[in-house]
Amino acid sequence: MAETMTPQQYQEYVDRRKRAASAKRAVGTGARHFVLIAVGLTMLLPFTWMCLASFKPLAEVEELNPVPTEWHPGNYIEVFKEIPFGRYYFNSVFVAAWVTFLQTLTSAMAAYAFARLQWPGRDTVFKLYLGTLMVPGVVTMIPNYTLVVKLHFLDTYSGLIVPAAFTAFGTFLLRQFMLTIPLALDEAARIDGASHWRVFWDVVMPLARPGVITLVIFTFMGNYGSFFWPLVLIKSEHLRTLPIGMLFFDSSYGRQTNLIMAASVMNILPLILLFIGTQRFIVKGIQLGAVKG
């Protein structure tokens, strides 16, 4: 059939095929966007409802209209009057910042020993280390609680910070990053007379920066939202972190949905901003964390 075509006919035939293919693609792309947008809306709707509810006057919180008839931005100020919300913010950020600092430092040092130094039994010790990632939190929680009681850390910042300062996950993540840095750099620095600490701090750490940033974000986020540990450890109101403060606010002001939603918005907003600002590190970090799979 194709042999009897003139070049012109052939060109028309090709064009027709191309048009058909691109029309098919356009339909496919449209359908894909339809699904993607539908899922996106499902993700967004609860957040939208939360924001709208946070602006409702008290009289409207049990009404079904999603949009407030009268906008009450004052709800946000009201939250600060009812509970020490600023204090909760401070506690959460303070504890999370300390935990992040200590975790990053201790796990970067351990990662240096696992990735950059030669010593007998290194890989065996590392495997044992990885194995502990499987130990579920529920097993260590109770002994850690009794230990913290013994150390007189109950109801203190130290109790929140110290047990959380060590991580096998961070060691693993940073080791993976450090393995990608050429060893020749360390050797050159060592020959120039640099100590291990200088090599670690001035050579390896700057080059491992993407990994460090990823770990910092994960650790900070994880501890900002940490719930179980502060729940069992903190008794004083002025030491409550955001999640604990939110829990008690919700159980004692249950009917004032508008205020509770305002507090929730204020709880979540920093997270959303942080996520948008640091997305590429987060995506990278999650994908790297599973390489061992």
Binding site: G40, M43, N144, F275
Partner: protein
Amino acid sequence: MRRYSRRRLADFGAAILFLLPNITGFVVFTAGPVVFSLVVSFSNWNLQQTVPFQWVGLKNYAEMFHTEDFWLYFINTGYLMLAMPVSIAGSLILAMLLSQKIRGTVIYRTLYYLPSFTSGVALLILWKALYNPEFGPVNAVIGWALHNLHLADVAQWLTGHGIEPPEWLQSTRNLLGIETEHASLSATSWGIGARDAIMFMGVWMGIGGGNMLLYLAGLSNIPQDLYDAAEVDGANRWQIFRNVTWPCLAPTTFFIIVMSFIGGLQGGFEQARVMTGGGPAGTTTTLAYYIYTRAFEQFQIGYASAISWVLFTIIFSITLVNWRLGGKQVAE
């Protein structure tokens, strides 16, 4: 014995110093506690000290297996994990849609990741409000649909029963029809209740989270040649998925399944503490929440440690089984 050069000895010394802070913390807060909790599980240790301390051997374990509570909470934990395949498949589908050349990928990805990134007490409180049977928007939408789309009338006409919007977190009903007091099934328990509410919410939170990102990474690692070769051979889309995409993603899927099991078996604590208090009638009490109530509300440290060790054993064996089965499959 091999002799080490001075240089290597110096490295060894440095390694010890660099490891010291992390290893110390690890021994004190992870390894030590694991052993300690096993030892304590053979005692009747109670933090309130109303009962004198005593070694009781296997009594805690015997008691646990003989009370129906443990089994019911075990079922609850498993029930919440039923959504795992749906959630994982959803993550895969979303990742496949996003991995093709399409506008706005970053925006979609951000939107999908939002719930899992902000997950925590604030979102649980939000969902508690959403699920409120009287004032919540979920039932407002369902009620509207039942009334205005005449779905209620259709149901009435078809089955002779009307349908009401679910009571969500206040109902013991469930999609499998598990009875509340016994580990058996009955039609009267069938419906949508607290466990389903938590399960649906879990899918919403998890579907666009870490698993989707892992699948996206997995998809981007599949060499284009394989797709081209399949197309040249005239494979249709399903065949390409079945013979190229799915096998190439097997290690990712395997990793996700293992992690979901580990997470799922320890899960449900925050939901129970924030949304339901473990109720109604204990239907949302998972093993993790059960341990919490025993240890930190009734202060029975010995008994709670025993439950946590049983949970640990279950997690460990399931991970091993997964490893055996999955490892083989991935190797093939």
